[in-house]
């Protein structure tokens, strides 16, 4: 901290970039668009990029967007990823409301707690996808949620880092 205070202030007089309020939402939409990458996955173990970006932003700051923005973002994710329409809308909005509650309850925040929260949310996401698939006549054993859950939990730090870097850039820090 002291060293940072002694360093020359290169960012002095630099404000937020234009459209800084939209940057988080746009980055989530771009993460959802990653499913358009031309990779044919046989196992479906890739992480849900849009959801990872969403919880990374929301865990980083409570005011990244108004809670209801999660609904249109979820709709976009459903369209891009081929989930049944409504799955991400309901789930993402519910996650926003749940995290609002968690923000009131937690006395402190740390890196490990955030990672644990993220793992819990990813588990809820995978379970919901699994349950919906079961309703749609594609009932797989529950063990099948474990590999994608592990992979997305391990991918979370990368997305959290990306969200933090984007946040510093958009606020001009």
């Amino acid at each position: 901290m002291v060293r940072a205070a002694l360093a020359p202030h290169r960012n002095l007089g630099k404000g937020p970039v234009a459209g800084a309020d939209l940057v988080p939402a746009i980055s989530v939409a771009i993460a959802s668009l990653l499913t358009a990458l031309p990779i044919v996955s046989m196992s479906g173990w890739y992480p849900d990029f849009g959801f990872l970006m969403l919880i990374s932003w929301r865990l980083l700051r409570a005011d990244a967007w108004p809670a209801w923005w999660a609904a249109p973002l979820g709709f976009f994710n459903d369209l891009m990823s081929g989930h049944p329409i409504g799955l991400s809308i309901a789930l993402w909005t519910a996650v926003m409301l749940v995290l609002d509650l968690i923000d009131r309850r937690t006395m402190w925040r740390g890196y490990w707690l955030e990672w644990a929260l993220a793992a819990l949310l990813l588990f809820i996401n995978e379970t919901a996808e699994w349950r919906i698939a079961q309703i749609m006549n594609a009932s797989l054993p529950f063990v099948s949620v474990v590999p994608p859950l592990l992979i997305s939990a391990l991918a979370f730090p990368a997305f959290a880092w990306a969200a933090a870097r984007l946040d510093r850039w958009r606020l001009g820090r």
Binding site: L34, T35, A36, L37, P38, I39, V40, S41, M42, S43, G44, W45, Y46, P47, D48, F49, A62, P66, A67, W68, A70, A71, P72, L79, M80, S81, G82, P84, I85, G86, L87, I89, A90, L91, W92, T93, A94, M96, L97, D100, D103, R104, T106, M107, W108, R109, G110, E129, W130, A133, I135, M136, N137, A138, S139, L140, S144, V145, P148, S152
Partner: protein, 294 residues
């Protein structure tokens, strides 16, 4: 570290109301999401048009980039082919000799078959492909296995049509935009295909396992009819898939069935074609695109 500033905007009435209305909007979003989810579970066709538009918007990008990944992948597998090339060459020559013999036999059989069919006056549907395209992408993160196919309604592709490559069955169309369509792969859990073992013609059922392999179950209870290496082909029962298309090769036996690998690997198949539904009436019955029988 203290938790991020919670929803307590201070004394400003305007900020408090803003927060409250945002909460109401989020609740509304949640309810709308649940209703839409229920609708897409009960009536999967209700969002067909909007899903088609989304497919059309992303498929050209995916298709364009696919050439890049195919080239990169080709460099690695191509380099692998030079390894041990002499022995590979000798083996391939030997296989070719055997194949030539088989081809002659097969030609004789097909001639005989044609004569017998003419004698019986058996009528068959013509099997000309409707459209040819590429598998350009897939579902990434869901337990379902879908692929994006680069031909759509403008090329004559309709929901329910079977998709195959030269190596075997890939799946069938479940969403059709005008430029691209979404294919339910053979390895999806919901894709249940009536099949036969090529070796002895015994009827079996093929169901995907969601991880790139399929589960094979015999229709008749009894001794496990599978052997490792068996090829399974479609039987044409039910009318969704044309008969005699190879599906998968058995790799492992389990207690009452077998686990098999699909012969047509969508991640490496360069071209795929959509065929006319074998019995169009069967597809019309099953308008939802999801088989009702478990």
């Amino acid at each position: 570290m203290a938790p991020p500033g919670g929803p307590r905007p201070g004394w400003s009435r305007r900020a408090q109301y803003g927060l409250f209305f945002s909460f109401l909007a989020a609740m509304a979003g949640l309810i709308i999401g649940i209703v839409m989810l229920g609708l897409s579970l009960v009536a999967p066709k209700s969002y067909a048009s909007v899903r088609g538009v989304a497919l059309d918007a992303t498929a050209p990008v995916t298709g364009g980039l696919r050439a890049v990944t195919a080239t990169v992948g080709g460099v690695f597998t191509g380099a692998g082919n030079y390894w041990d090339a002499a022995r590979q060459n000798a083996r391939l020559k030997h296989e070719r000799e055997l194949m030539l013999q088989r081809i002659v036999e097969a030609k004789a059989i097909s001639l005989e078959n044609r004569e017998l069919k003419a004698a019986l006056q058996l009528r068959e549907h013509s099997r000309s492909p409707i459209a040819t395209g590429r598998i350009v992408g897939s579902s990434f993160s869901s337990p379902r296995r879908y692929a994006i196919f680069s031909a759509g309604g403008a090329d004559g592709v309709r929901v329910g049509m079977p998709v195959r490559s030269s190596k075997g069955l890939i799946g069938r169309v479940i969403d059709a935009g005008s430029l691209a369509s979404r294919v339910l792969l053979v390895s999806d859990r919901a894709s249940i295909i009536p099949a036969r073992i090529l070796r002895n013609g015994q009827p079996v059922i093929s169901q995907g396992r969601g991880d790139g392999t399929v589960d094979l179950r015999p229709l008749e209870v009894g001794r496990n009819p599978f052997k490792p290496g068996d090829i399974v082909i479609t039987s044409g029962t039910g009318g969704l898939y044309p008969p005699l298309v190879p599906i998968a090769r058995v790799v492992r036996l389990d207690d009452d069935g077998a686990i098999a690998l699909p012969l047509a690997d969508p991640s490496s198949a360069s071209f795929a074609m959509v065929e006319q539904s074998y019995e169009p009436a069967a597809v019309a019955d099953e308008a939802g695109g999801i088989p009702e029988n478990q």
